[in-house]
Amino acid sequence: MARSVKHSANRPPTPDEDVRDSPERDELTLGEIINIKLVESGEKENLMELVRDRLVESGWKDEMRIACREHVKKKGRKDVTVDELIRVITPKGRASVPDAIKEELLDRIHNFIRSAAL
C-alpha cells in the first residue's frame, strides 16, 4: 500500500489565497497597468508588428545584423552568447531608430494611453 502513495502527495499544502495579496495589486505601477492594457487589447501586438515592419523597411535591421556580424567576427563565432550580442547592439540600436519611425510609434502609444482614460 505504501507504494501507491505518490510523491505528489507529499508536497506542502497549497497556501490559501491570502488577503495580503490584493493590496499588492494596487501597487502596480502605471507603466505595468498600461502594459497589461496594451496586451489585453491586442494593441501591443499591433505595435510590435508595426515597429518590425518599419525597422526592416528602413534598413535598420540590416544595420543591426551587420553590427552583430562584426562582433561575431571579433569574438569568434563559437564564443558569442545572445546576451552578449544584445548588450553590444542595444545602445546603437536604440539610438539609430529613424526619427520618423519613433514619432509614428510614440504618437500611437500616446493615443492609446489617452484613450485608456488614465
Binding site: L30, G31, I34, N35, L38, L47, M48, V51, R52, L55, K61, M64, R65, C68, R69, V72, K73, R77, K78, V80, T81, V82, L85, I86, I89, T90, G93, R94, V97, K102, L105, L106, I109, H110, I113, R114
Partner: protein, 161 residues
C-alpha cells in the same frame, strides 16, 4: 494647467518606456537570429572571411620563415588521400634495357644514355650484328621522340652531350 503638463510629461515618459520596450524586443530578435546563424555556421561569408584570414596568416608565416625552401614547398601538393608527393619521384626500379637500378626521377636521362643518344651507347650498338638495323630504328624512334618532346634547339643540345 500644471496638472495637464504633469500628465503630459508622465504620459511622455510612459510612451517612451513602451516604445523602448518595443525596440528592445526587436533588438533581442535580431540578436537571437544572428546568434543562431553564427553558432550554426550558416553565414558563408563569415566563414569565407575567417578562412581567408587564416590562410593569409599561414601564408605570411611561410614567407617569413627563411628555412622554407619555397620552390619545393609549392610542389608539395597534398592529394585527396592526404598524401604528399615529393617533387622528384624517389622510387627505385630496374631499367628494362640495361638492368641497372635506377631512381625513377632520373630514369629519363638514364634512358637517353642507355638507349642511344650518347656516344658510349652508339658505340655499344655498333658492336652487335644487327647494328645498322638497330641504329636506324633507334635513330628513327629517338628522332621521333625528340620531335615530339623537345623544343627545336633540343636536338642540338642533346647531341652535344
Amino acid at each position: 494647467m500644471s496638472n495637464v503638463e504633469d500628465n503630459k510629461s508622465s504620459h511622455d515618459q510612459l510612451s517612451s518606456q513602451v516604445f523602448l520596450d518595443l525596440v528592445d524586443s526587436v533588438i533581442a530578435d535580431v540578436a537571437s537570429e544572428c546568434h543562431r546563424v553564427a553558432r550554426l555556421g550558416l553565414d558563408r561569408d563569415l566563414e569565407v572571411v575567417e578562412e581567408e584570414l587564416r590562410l593569409s596568416v599561414e601564408a605570411r608565416a611561410k614567407v617569413a620563415d627563411p628555412s622554407n625552401n619555397l620552390e619545393t614547398n609549392t610542389k608539395y601538393v597534398v592529394d585527396i588521400f592526404g598524401q604528399s608527393h615529393p617533387p622528384v619521384a624517389t622510387e627505385v626500379f630496374n631499367c628494362m634495357n640495361c638492368g641497372r637500378q635506377i631512381v625513377a626521377g632520373r630514369f629519363a636521362p638514364h634512358l637517353e644514355r642507355c638507349m642511344g643518344k650518347g656516344r658510349k651507347a652508339r658505340a655499344k650498338a655498333t658492336r652487335s650484328t644487327t647494328a645498322s638495323q638497330n641504329r636506324n630504328s633507334r635513330r628513327n624512334t629517338s628522332d621521333n621522340n625528340q620531335l615530339a618532346s623537345g623544343p627545336p634547339g633540343f636536338e642540338e643540345n642533346v647531341r652535344k652531350a
